[in-house]
């Protein structure tokens, strides 16, 4: 709660400063602001995590969310639209440093690969055919039991 308050106060300060400087400050001022403010906090938070956890989505999603929010709020304060070219380059840097080893998929809901999906679908079908054959055979066999 305290850090959130601090965050907001610092942010208002930066916004006020940048407003004085330029109304359309989507150039270096914005870049400076997000690197000084958002990236610093993100670096601190990521250092608290073990390096092996950097690729774990569950562990990093909150930090990533904070980082994204931060860039968004700064953009709003500087009357920039979000996202923009600066945001792209910023995140490319972040990803090159922290997440370049992480798997490209798996965070969004997606079907498993075919080598897993295939057996899951084919095996119940085969078992169905087997069971049907078994039942037909058993009902046929009862002819002998009279």
């Amino acid at each position: 709660m305290g850090t959130a308050l601090l965050k907001h106060t610092l942010l208002c300060l930066i916004v006020a400063v940048s407003q004085c400087v330029s109304a359309q400050g989507c150039g270096s001022h914005y870049e400076f602001a997000i690197e000084e403010f958002c990236l610093a906090k993100f670096k601190l938070d990521m250092q608290k995590l073990d390096q092996r956890q950097w690729c774990s989505w569950e562990d990093t999603v909150e930090l990533y969310s904070d980082l994204t929010n931060c860039t968004y709020v700064v953009a709003q304060g500087m009357s920039c639209y979000w996202p923009n070219r600066m945001v792209d380059e910023f995140f490319i840097q972040v990803h090159r440093y922290y997440f370049h080893n992480c798997s490209l998929s798996g965070r969004l809901l997606k079907d498993p690969p075919n080598r897993i999906l295939g057996p899951f679908i084919v095996v119940p079908i085969l078992v169905t055919l087997l069971m049907t054959a078994l039942v037909v055979w058993r009902s046929k066999r009862s002819e002998g039991i009279v």
Partner: protein, 513 residues
């Protein structure tokens, strides 16, 4: 998750199953209740609107990461990973740089219009519609004239939402009405079959189990539709285990429906073709196939879904995992159809060789099942070919009728149109009336002894009673005659002792439609 009621997956596999439709239309109903809906202004469509919406709905912003927000974050993360790993642009000329536009990822594009399918973050987005992003010839993405920001066109994603909500709500009500009618008619049929002891035989036992399976299916489906419509409002209960158990149970009952129909087909096949003069079959294996076996696909589906596609309440139909359930169901339908066609073939060839009375009796037995199998299966056959436009809504309407009124159709075809059941009911009615001392139909109570339908009465006696009593419905007369004739033929042929004769007669009695 968007409802797939309109089912327009241009460029993606047609995962169009009725059950999923009925589940997914409940999502659109939830849409009408207004959760996680994006309402962007006409000119600006970016992340801020999703954020604002979330902020409106939640008091503590930091505590709750909504479903849409989480999906968008994951998409953003994977987008930047893709951006840093993709090879650089290799073709000559200007191109627009790869970028994240706030909702979707765009790679390097040549000048022109880049297209993707709409995302599934919001319930009013149709994943069948397209998102477009224009790349100008000078290598810059299109800037919206009013706000001068880089802009992707997401307007098509929600242009038809209002219409689809209306259609989805009406289909939802249709589903609930269908299932309620099915439950009522099936319970009546169960009561009829249980109360009229004269009808008891193995085939009726199978009918009773089929009815029970359909009743359970309807009850569970109604519960699931209601729950899934409600659960979308409450994003914090996203991992409700009970809802997932209900989803798995829905799959189990749906599968057991079709497997009970398969049991009916196998029983008829064995009865008529394989073991014609056998003592009563062991129903044990039929019970295993009908009630026990569906546990296998249902539990496989539950495990696969939990491991690989664990969304809220397992409601999303946008996955190939649904084929774990639909594969066995389709196999059951095809095998059943094969058995029934085989029976028809044998009966027709028999017709050519011998007199038609026996074959007619068997043919009538088969007729009911043969009508039902296509009715149950037609939704799987027609499903992938949904026409577009207004006819699509008519198509949806008929498909929903076929799928949700199945219980009612089964009850009508197996019970209400079953002439045996009708005759037995009429006899019972006359019995009651005579027991109360009334004289309907101009008979004295003494003649009611003809209709004293004890189960151990001789078949020949009751057949004679059929012939004496004027048949209430004209169409049952020829059948009565043929049945009596065939029973007498059986009796005279001396194939078996009296026991065998009674069984043959029993079989013909109760297999007539």
């Amino acid at each position: 998750m968007i409802a797939k009621n309109e089912l327009k997956y241009r460029g993606s596999p047609p995962v169009c199953r009725n059950m999923w439709r009925s589940i997914s239309l409940s999502l659109l109903v939830a849409l009408a209740l207004g959760s996680e809906v994006s309402q962007p202004p006409d000119d600006v469509v970016t992340l801020e609107w999703a954020e604002l919406k979330l902020q409106e709905n939640t008091s503590d912003i930091s505590a709750v990461i909504g479903n849409a927000r989480r999906m968008i974050l994951a998409a953003q993360f994977e987008c930047y990973l893709k951006i840093i790993h993709d090879p650089p642009w290799s073709e000559a000329g200007n191109y627009c740089n790869r970028t994240w536009d706030g909702w979707m990822c765009w790679g390097d594009s040549a000048p022109g219009t880049a297209m993707q399918m709409c995302p599934t973050y919001f319930q009013d987005f149709d994943p069948g519609e397209k998102v477009t992003k224009v790349c100008n010839p000078d290598g810059q993405w299109f800037h919206h004239p009013e706000s001068n920001r880089i802009w992707s066109n997401y307007t098509q994603c929600q242009v038809h939402t209002k219409d689809r909500v209306k259609v989805a709500i009406s289909l939802y009500y249709l589903a609930v009405v269908g299932h309620c009618l099915s439950i009522v008619s099936l319970i009546i049929s169960l009561i009829i079959f249980s109360y009229l002891k004269s009808l008891s035989c193995q085939r009726i036992s199978l009918h009773k189990n089929t009815f029970l399976s359909f009743i359970l299916n309807s009850i569970v489906t109604i519960m699931f539709l209601s729950v899934s419509a409600v659960i979308n409002e409450n994003t914090t209960s996203s991992n409700s285990v009970s809802c997932k158990i209900l989803a798995a149970l829905t799959q189990y009952t749906s599968t057991s429906n079709y497997f009970w129909m398969l049991c009916e087909g196998i029983y008829l096949h064995t009865l008529i073709i394989v073991a014609v003069f056998v003592e009563e079959q062991q129903l044990f294996w039929y019970y295993i196939l009908g009630w026990g076996f569906p546990i296998i696909p249902a539990s496989t589906y539950a495990v696969a879904r939990w491991l690989y596609f664990d969304d809220k309440c397992w409601i999303s139909p946008h996955t190939h995992l649904v084929y774990i359930i639909h594969g066995p169901i389709q196999v059951a339908l095809v095998v059943n159809l094969f058995f029934l066609l085989n029976i028809i073939r044998v009966l027709i060839t028999k017709l050519k060789e011998t007199h038609c009375t026996e074959s007619t009796a068997y043919m009538k037995a088969v007729r009911a099942t043969l009508i039902l199998i296509p009715l149950l299966g037609i939704q799987f056959i027609l499903m992938p070919w949904r026409p577009e436009g207004c006819i699509g809504y008519v198509y949806d309407f008929f498909n929903n009728i076929f799928s949700h009124f199945q219980g009612l159709m089964v009850a009508i075809i197996f019970c209400f149109c079953n002439s045996e059941a009708q005759t037995a009911l009429q006899r019972k009615w006359v019995q009651w009336k005579s027991a109360w001392g009334k004289t309907g139909f101009g008979e004295t109570p003494a003649t009611s002894n003809h209709f004293n339908y004890h189960t151990n009465s001789s078949i020949v006696e009751t057949s004679r009673a059929n012939l004496e009593h004027p048949a209430p419905a004209a169409r049952s007369e020829p059948k009565d005659n043929s049945r009596a004739l065939s029973v007498m033929q059986q009796g005279n042929s001396g194939e078996a002792g009296t026991h065998g004769e009674r069984d043959a007669g029993n079989r013909l009695e109760t297999t007539g439609i």
